[in-house]
Point group: C2
Chain length 332, copies 2
């Protein structure tokens, strides 16, 4: 029998940072960002360079907040949604820092925390930089239509978060938040083919991972202050609630979704909510981390969700498989 | 001071498999494949589906050779060159196997072995499936020109290997090959902008990783039977030799490159040699593994090399950064 839960030893969050864009500055979590840039280009001349610049700022903020240099860090791992993950890899050019590139679609922050925590827990690294990003404009350009086209979107579609979250794993007496456990996701294909309904494509994978966690853990969902999926959005969230209900799995009102927290779904034009690697990355590095260090939450489960597709696979009539990685964050 | 070398405990290769295409069947390493498929489409109707089918066959061969089922494996990790790594992730749809998606360009097999070995070494997983692939046609379509265009290529360009290598990490008495040490690569940007000369873009990163390994290790390059970069090709190999020479670093004639081993550079129309995630993956899973289990080699260093770019970054006049991950394989 496979063990579903990875139990970590002495893996703590030393510091976090997050950078966002204009729409994020207008949302309910704006206070939790280190920087909100109104210029979508971040001072650069292309969307791709803008995303790299955003990520560079997030990493620099993190190093400066933690009063550390690249040489104090043993390993970095991260990824993004751009083809070949160039938004993250270009950040670390000639920074003299070992790097493992990841691709987990929008689950990348959770995947990065899991790999970082395994390295830290087993003393293969003393400090690990984990980060993930997405940018509305670079994602629209790559996955959907040129922005200038002004295409209408369906109500089930989500709005890619412009944001980069960075989390430094380490171990010092001052650390208040522990990365305690994790579950690695499986690739679940629910047969969804609608590229404008990623929430539906990812809901089953998220439910599978949560059920696996609680099936092996001795805890009840009631022991958690927040159980949050990454970016199912309103549509996927409702589907996940329905799936939990069918499995007679009670979540005690603790279940929410980062894609619904980051924007005001009534007032902001974001359809079903936020999405993208940056979504769960900034909500975790900003809002959740803040709640944990202030003692407003003691136990949080993040279930990073990712839809595994590229435009070709959709044009070739393939369904959209998904993955969901779970990470447990505990205040101490 | 950062430790450069990761030392693993009890990480062995239980079995390997590799599948290749027509050009690989005509090369000098054809005897080391489990299957060589003459049909470039692998019986499917698109190049992308062909690559997934190739990978599915490689994973199935591995499971059948090892007499195992998905439920006997704790974790899988891998990646490929296609946008959003769909060639690997689609293989594991509904296979009930935890999966971590990686993007390390052509260094992916080495990256996968490192992450797998860290999980295995620290008992977070008992068995890990590591795999990586590339396909000539899907890569040409995505990175260069449609095949039908029949574009001429420069002499420094390389030919993407159609191949998938899969390696099962575990620990049984029968295992003859150990994954002993590793060095995680750093992102090195040498300022190369020629997309038809990836070897030059990657040479410096490879040299950096090798020098870091021997700087910390007590071993001499002479202690190894083979020191192989992943896919520098003839051009990058010669550049790397020159860089080693300038650093007065003696390799005792042990240095070679998987991209030069897999094809006959004189007789086959492959320009500077092989490249792609599949290149070092099949050479390692096939040829190197065979040499180690037969006792023809006792110590091999694989330095998986990856060029981090996408077509946009090149069109936007950015240089091509590279990464190189090192893995030490030892016969026991």
């Amino acid at each position: 029998m496979r063990n579903e839960i990875l139990h970590f030893n002495n893996v703590f969050i030393e510091n976090t940072s997050c950078v966002g864009g204009k729409k994020e500055s207008e949302g309910p979590l704006s206070a939790y960002f280190d920087m909100l840039e109104p210029d979508e280009y971040f001072g650069k001349d292309t969307w791709e360079k803008a995303e790299s610049e955003m990520n560079t700022r997030a990493v620099n903020f993190l190093l400066s907040k933690a009063k550390l240099d690249y040489s104090d860090i043993d390993l970095s791992c991260g990824g993004d949604l751009l083809n070949q993950c160039v938004a993250t890899s270009f950040v670390l050019k000639n920074c003299d820092l070992p790097y493992l590139g990841l691709y987990g679609a929008c689950s990348t922050m959770a995947e990065s925390l899991i790999i970082g925590a395994v390295f830290k827990s087993s003393n293969f690294a003393k400090r690990v930089l984990c980060f993930a990003s997405s940018h509305f404009c670079s994602a629209e350009k790559q996955y959907r239509f040129p922005l200038e086209y002004g295409g209408q979107r369906t109500p089930t579609s989500q709005s890619t978060v412009t944001g980069c979250g960075a989390i430094l794993l380490g171990d010092s007496e001052k650390c208040r938040v522990e990365v305690k456990e994790a579950v690695v996701g499986k690739i679940v294909d629910s047969g969804v083919t609608d590229v404008n309904n990623m929430g539906a494509a990812m809901a089953e994978a998220a439910v599978d991972t949560v059920i696996r966690y609680f099936g092996e853990s001795n805890l009840s969902p009631d022991a958690f202050d927040i159980i949050a999926t990454g970016d199912l959005g309103r549509e996927g969230y409702e589907l996940a609630c329905e799936l939990f209900k069918r499995k007679k799995f009670e979540l005690f009102g603790k279940y929410t979704d980062c894609g619904m927290l980051i924007y005001d779904l009534e007032k902001q034009d974001v359809h079903a909510g936020g999405s993208g690697c940056g979504c769960s990355a900034v909500v975790t590095a900003g809002y959740f981390y803040d709640k944990l260090i202030r003692g407003e939450a003691k136990e949080i489960l993040l279930i990073g969700t990712g839809a595994l597709l590229n435009p070709n696979t959709v044009f070739q009539k393939q369904s959209i498989p998904a993955v969901a990685h779970l990470v447990r964050l505990s205040a101490r």
